[in-house]
């Protein structure tokens, strides 16, 4: 199949060999699980349990709330011991609502409803079951999967692209799951294709994963699923880029993949979909890559949602040396965390303990306009110019240069010889613009309030004046009447 060219991109050192050769192993059941209510994009889930409740594995413990949200299930059987704030893998370090579950070690499943032939289900039924299972995009974006299925089906999608790119260095969780669970993934892919009524099914896998490609090809034999090897390049696994390389089309600016008849799902999501449909099992665990030069035994594990990061690191035999940075996700777009009590969430693809040498960051120096960032940008932006505008607080200047098209992939920061934190500038600017937008909306509403109040006060004053005038008129009339009467009596 013909592949299409991408612009820009970078080739960071893969470092996938650290963890790629070991089988996925389950992490021993932790004593306490800390289940975040915010494991997806959208409104946080609302807890359905009370402290002291006994729950079974797979039991619904928090319901979706609002249009964009996702339910959450108990990762194991046990007792709810706390409801309240917990550590979040968010850069702000702000707490998130969290359910604490003490496991009883019995792993007793709730009654699940298996389906013998999932392909007899209607697309709507598939979406509904996916939604009930709390499945979100496991590539990292954590958008509720059922919503995406419904949106895609309703807007008439013809091509389903399964993302097996895994272009982030170090991460091998998708690689391993494709090697070890290819048959289930292919079934999941076919179910997703049914749910969105897609005619073409393409699975894009970077060519640095030959074993995964071979396993997937073997499993996809005699099906409509096409496995395609893509060149290894960062950010090949980004939605916009994988669509472009496989179809040659671009998502219109500000639009969604469905605008060009495409929907993209991650391969790990397909596995979760298959488990949910065939066995009725909700999403309560995921594959996590443990890697980095500071980790003693880099590997891939299957971890229950809510497992503290510390338990994973212990399972990988701890550190070889103090890690300069702990990162959740990949090194290019992952999240630096400052404490290991942060739990695994549905979107956690990796836990990396990186050394200072691996990070390779030094103090920023002046921009020499070498335009390496311009060549690296996969979107076609001018990172150096945008950062220069943001530096002097000219955010609208940066917007005019295309700030809102930035996908924050970090390629520019990666290649910058001056080590300027370019993508940090862009995320700051995006956040500040959003805050300004909120402030503007608030100002508009408070302005209306102020106007209403001014009017009310004016009305009260008017009313008072009128009332006073009326009283005065009445008094005068009375006086006049009295005077007239007096005069009359005098005359009389």
């Amino acid at each position: 199949m013909k592949l299409f060219n991408l612009r820009g991109g970078v080739h960071p050192e893969g470092r996938k060999e650290l963890s790629a050769q070991r089988h996925i192993r389950p992490v021993p059941l932790p004593k306490f699980l800390y289940i975040s209510m915010q494991q997806h994009i959208g409104a946080p889930a609302s807890p359905l349990v009370q402290i002291g409740d006994r729950v079974l594995k797979g039991q619904l413990i928090a319901a979706a709330q609002g249009a964009v949200s996702s339910p959450i299930h108990a990762p194991t059987s046990g007792v709810i011991t706390a409801l309240g704030d917990g550590f979040s893998p968010h850069p702000s370090g702000l707490p998130v609502p969290t359910i604490t579950l003490e496991s009883d070690g019995e792993e007793r499943w709730i009654n699940t409803v298996p389906v013998d032939d999932p392909f007899t289900l209607t697309p709507e039924q598939i979406s509904a079951r996916v939604g009930e299972a709390g499945i979100v995009g496991l590539g990292g974006a954590t958008f509720p999967a059922a919503l995406k299925l419904n949106l895609s089906r309703n807007s008439g999608v013809h091509t389903l692209i399964m993302n097996g790119g895994e272009c982030e260095p170090y991460l091998t969780c998708d690689d391993r799951i494709m090697r070890e669970r290819a048959a289930q993934i292919i079934e999941g892919i076919r179910l997703i294709a049914t749910a969105v009524a897609a005619k073409n099914i393409l699975v894009g896998i970077e060519d640095n994963k030959p074993e995964a490609i071979a396993a997937m090809q073997a499993a996809a034999k005699d099906s409509a699923v096409k496995i395609i090897a893509m060149p290894s390049m960062y950010p090949m696994g980004s939605e916009k880029q994988i669509i472009q390389v496989l179809t040659g089309h671009e998502i219109p600016a500000g639009g969604r993949p469905a605008d060009i008849g495409v929907v993209v799902h991650n391969v790990a999501t397909a596995f979760a979909v298959q488990q949910a449909i065939r066995y009725g099992r909700p999403l309560i665990s995921r594959i996590v890559t443990l890697s980095g030069a500071a980790i003693k035994t880099p590997c891939n594990v299957e971890a229950l949602v809510g497992t503290p990061v510390q338990e994973l690191i212990d399972f990988a035999d701890g550190y070889t040396q103090p890690a300069a940075r702990l990162v959740l996700g990949g090194p290019m777009m992952g999240q630096h965390i400052s404490n290991t009590r942060v739990p695994v969430v549905k979107g956690t693809g990796g836990v990396l303990a990186l050394t200072a040498q691996e990070i390779g960051q030094t103090q920023a120096s002046p921009c020499i306009r070498c335009s390496t960032c311009v060549r690296a940008c996969p979107v076609g932006l001018l990172p150096l110019e945008m950062a220069a505008h943001i530096r002097i607080s000219d955010l609208s200047g940066a917007v005019n240069l295309g700030l809102k098209d930035c996908i924050a992939c970090g390629s520019c920061s990666y290649v910058c010889p001056a080590h300027i934190p370019l993508v940090h500038y862009f995320n700051y600017a995006k956040g500040d613009l959003a805050a300004q937008e909120r402030a503007k909306l608030k100002q508009e509403s408070t302005k209306k309030l102020a106007e209403a109040r001014t009017e009310r006060i004016a009305k009260i004053a008017r009313d008072r004046a009128e009332a006073a005038a009326k009283r005065k008129a009445a008094r005068e009339a009375k006086e006049r009447a009295a005077a007239a009467a007096k005069a009359a009596t005098e005359v009389a």
């Binding site: 850069p91 702000s92 995320n427």
Partner: protein, 179 residues
């Protein structure tokens, strides 16, 4: 040689002057009601922190050039930029404090329910009645500080709003972000 230079320069002067004259005539911008437009941009809370009589007064002062675009504390940086863009001046943001968002908050233990604060609140953001503890509607509060000024027991005060997961965003990188 000399003559041709003189002639060509003169011609150039005449033609360009003519063009300018024509441009001034045909591209003339009607005097716009600038003050009204500026008032549209201002918060409209009439809080008086700028020292002018209400937002209309401030707009007048801005339009006549007697006030700088940084006059309005509740408007923050966004307003400074909006005003600067409207007036076509360079915004000097150095003087504008990276203002932490503030909101009025009532300390319930010492509120005596005197109703003074909600009488002065320009946006009706304070709810309450005589002898009852007052409450602030966060959505309506503009942090103008009028209530703080009239409160006899210092129970109502402006407090910085702690960031939430929804409102938090990355700080601006310092000039040389050293890691």
């Amino acid at each position: 040689m000399l003559l041709s230079a003189v002639i060509s320069l003169t011609m150039l002067g005449i033609i360009l002057g003519l063009l300018l004259g024509l441009a001034a005539r045909f591209l003339k911008v009607e005097g716009n009601p600038l003050a009204a437009e500026l008032e549209q941009l201002l918060p409209g809370a009439q809080c008086g922190q700028c020292g002018f009589p209400g937002c209309a007064g401030a707009a007048q002062a801005l339009a006549s050039g007697t006030a700088t675009v940084t006059l309005c504390p509740p408007g923050g940086r966004a307003l400074v930029q909006a005003l600067a863009a409207k007036l076509g001046v360079d915004a000097d943001l150095s003087g504008v404090k990276e203002s932490v968002p503030m909101l009025a908050e009532v300390k319930e233990e010492i509120c005596i329910g005197c109703t003074r604060c909600f009488k002065v609140c320009p946006t009706d953001a304070i709810m309450g009645a005589a002898q009852q503890i007052h409450v602030v509607f966060r959505e309506a509060c503009t942090a103008c500080g009028k209530c703080e000024a009239v409160c006899p027991t210092e129970s109502i005060k402006l407090q910085p709003v702690p960031p939430t997961l929804q409102s938090w965003y990355w700080h601006k990188p310092s000039a040389a972000e050293a890691i």
